[in-house]
């Protein structure tokens, strides 16, 4: 029989134990998340170049970014383009590959490995490779297309093709989606397919009325995480733009981001451009907060219970 006193002691001990187990993360959360996030908000209202002391400037940075910074709207448009097109292509293609792999009977291990490998390729290496492969003059892809008599686009050097080229690169690395779709497809109850067979359902109807309803939470998960990823597009567009434009690597020489013609500019690149090239930390923080608002909106969607995407409790 526990008296109230020992019960309370037990509670306190268990609270302390929980605290002890969580402590690395609690410190990390405060120092590397909460504090810098609050600082970002306060910086966004100050004029600060990193040298002279920061001064309060009200909404001046906000007005500058939205009204006078010539890269903001193109970057936002490009980011939204990537969010829509890249995510759609990745989900559709990833689902297709996932379905294909569940149908393959012979050598499934080999196929799965081959489909998965590009997902692992380091982004800088993959981007460099694609800029070379899609090089309009001497790249092997355009050579092959030329041999087949197909008019080949200029990819990373044509403003209207640079984003499709980035999308192609993203679709190439669809291995992660293949794996989660494959797992979801294998979980669809067999009896439902058998029942559909008895009803004389064709392939399309089976997909529409059996497969899709069963995997829709995973499709939703792929869409939302894909949107968050696409919104953060940084390395690939930056490296593609720099290498395609012939800027000498990272020699420190200033470069006009977004080559060709601002078409590969994304929001995260603006934070770098404003903060670390123009030393306008205040305005950089404004862009950072726009990015934050967009990301958190989609993260909230991801965590909404009804979608069954990521459940907090069990």
């Amino acid at each position: 029989m526990s008296t109230p006193y020992t019960l309370r002691a037990k509670h306190r001990r268990s609270a302390l134990r929980t605290l002890a187990f969580l402590s690395p993360w609690l410190i990390g959360f405060c120092v590397f998340f909460a504090y810098p996030l609050i600082s970002t908000v306060s910086f966004s209202f100050t004029h600060y170049d990193g040298f002279s002391p920061a001064t309060f400037s009200g909404l001046k940075n906000w007005s500058y970014v939205f009204n006078d910074y010539p890269l903001f709207w193109p970057a936002l448009r490009n980011t939204l383009w990537l969010v829509v097109v890249m995510v759609a292509c990745r989900v559709v293609f990833g689902l297709g590959i996932g379905m294909l792999i569940t149908k393959i009977k012979t050598g499934v291990g080999v196929f799965r490995t081959l489909f998965y490998l590009p997902y692992l390729a380091p982004p800088v290496a993959a981007t460099l490779g694609f800029v070379f492969l899609l090089n309009p003059g001497t790249g092997p892809v355009n050579s092959l297309l030329g041999d087949l008599g197909i008019p080949a686009p200029d990819w990373f050097t044509d403003p209207s093709w640079s984003k499709p080229a980035l999308t192609l690169l993203a679709v190439w690395g669809v291995g992660d989606l293949m794996v989660i779709f494959m797992a979801a497809l294998l979980d669809v109850p067999k009896e439902q397919y058998e029942a559909a067979d008895l009803d004389g359902a064709r392939a399309w109807h089976k997909f529409r009325y059996v497969t899709l309803p069963n995997i829709s939470p995973i499709v939703m998960f792929a869409v939302v995480t894909g949107v968050i990823q696409a919104m953060q597009s940084y390395t690939q567009p930056l490296v593609a733009g720099k290498v395609a434009s012939g800027v000498i690597g990272n020699s420190g020489q200033p470069f006009e981001p977004g080559y060709p013609d601002k078409s590969t500019l994304t929001l995260p690149q603006l934070v770098y451009n404003l903060g670390f090239q123009r030393f306008d930390y205040g305005s950089a923080c404004v862009v950072a907060l726009v990015l934050f608002a967009l990301s958190m909106a989609f993260t909230a969607l991801l965590m909404k219970r009804r979608g069954g995407l990521i459940q907090a409790g069990e």
């Binding site: 690395p24 993360w25 694609f130 001497t138 390395t235 989609f298």
Partner: protein, 304 residues
């Protein structure tokens, strides 16, 4: 695009169609199965070409001499294996390897060690604020690094004077990494509570339960998160760009690779050889640890 060059092989059928059929219906069914087998595998080969051909082209280019990269021929005229030696002789290349291994290796150890207890508490303890903590972990995981980079940079560079090194990237990993915590938590949820209760009946405290019972069972999950963390650091471009861009001695492979095109050599063959060398370890490790990877990716999405 690469679909255009598909050359589907017609592999051997699983069962001979000429086998004496019992009924015409059975024969039609078997023929249908065979046709489906051929269609699925042709499609598989076409898709495989799309995924594999870029690697093949990169490899071939890395073995050309520098003039040939400017021509349209795909097969090297003479196989210039010496390109790989030349890449290693580029000043800095070996330093980038060392830095990358330091960042990825030390970072992975720190992040796993500090994340395991947190993930365990989130998976198995009942306490007030547990759901809130998990939501905060997920928010941290989804936060673009650019959102907090300005104050973080000023903190590391101005207050601690550590810019020009990789420490601003490594030290935070000693305080748990959100993605590692989340993935491990997903994995630990799958360990049945009965094991933990049995340990407690035997008189183990939580810490001993974690070490003696949970860790041995969590080995596949830990392998998965360790690999993800390692490759995250291996692939990281933004972090080294912010903290180490002015200090070539602190560059990592992913960051240095981009400078390779231009600063040292404009030759595509050498650039592609370096690219292959940066990709190779990732692919090699994957072949030894496929299961852990696939497990990890599945955990992010499927199991609640």
């Amino acid at each position: 695009m690469s679909y255009a060059v598909e050359t589907p092989k017609t592999p051997k059928a699983p069962e001979a169609p000429e086998a004496p059929a019992a009924t015409p219906a059975a024969r039609t069914a078997r023929r249908k199965a065979l046709l489906q087998w051929i269609a699925v595998h042709s499609l598989g080969v076409a898709a495989a070409l799309f995924f594999v051909l870029p690697f093949v082209f990169l490899l071939l280019t890395s073995l050309m001499d520098d003039q040939q990269t400017l021509t349209r021929d795909l097969i090297p005229h003479h196989w210039a294996w010496s390109n790989y030696r030349t890449v290693f002789e580029v000043p800095g290349f070996l330093t980038w390897w060392r830095n990358t291994l330091l960042y990825a290796g030390l970072g992975t150890v720190l992040s796993v060690v500090s994340s395991v207890p947190v993930a365990y508490a989130l998976a198995k303890f009942r306490f007030r604020g547990r759901n809130l903590s998990l939501m905060l972990v997920i928010s941290m995981m989804m936060l673009p690094p650019q959102v907090i980079i300005i104050p973080m940079y000023l903190f590391w560079a101005r207050q601690l004077d550590l810019s020009g090194t990789l420490w601003p990237l490594i030290i935070p990993l000693a305080f748990g990494d959100a993605f590692t915590i989340f993935l491990l938590r997903q994995f630990l949820m799958t360990i049945p509570n009965e094991y933990l209760d049995a340990a407690k009946v035997d008189g183990c405290g939580e810490f001993r339960t974690l070490i003696k019972v949970v860790l041995p069972m969590a080995r596949p999950g830990i392998a998965a998160v360790a690999l993800f963390q390692f490759f995250y650091a291996w692939n990281d471009y933004f972090g080294p760009q912010i903290y180490a861009s002015d200090t070539p001695a602190s560059w990592t492979l992913s960051y240095g690779l981009e400078s390779f095109k231009g600063a040292h050599h404009t030759d595509w063959n050498l650039t592609m050889a370096a690219t292959v060398l940066v990709m190779a370890p990732v692919i090699l490790v994957f072949f030894f640890a496929q299961k852990a990877f696939v497990e990890g990716v599945t955990l992010t999405g499927v199991k609640g």
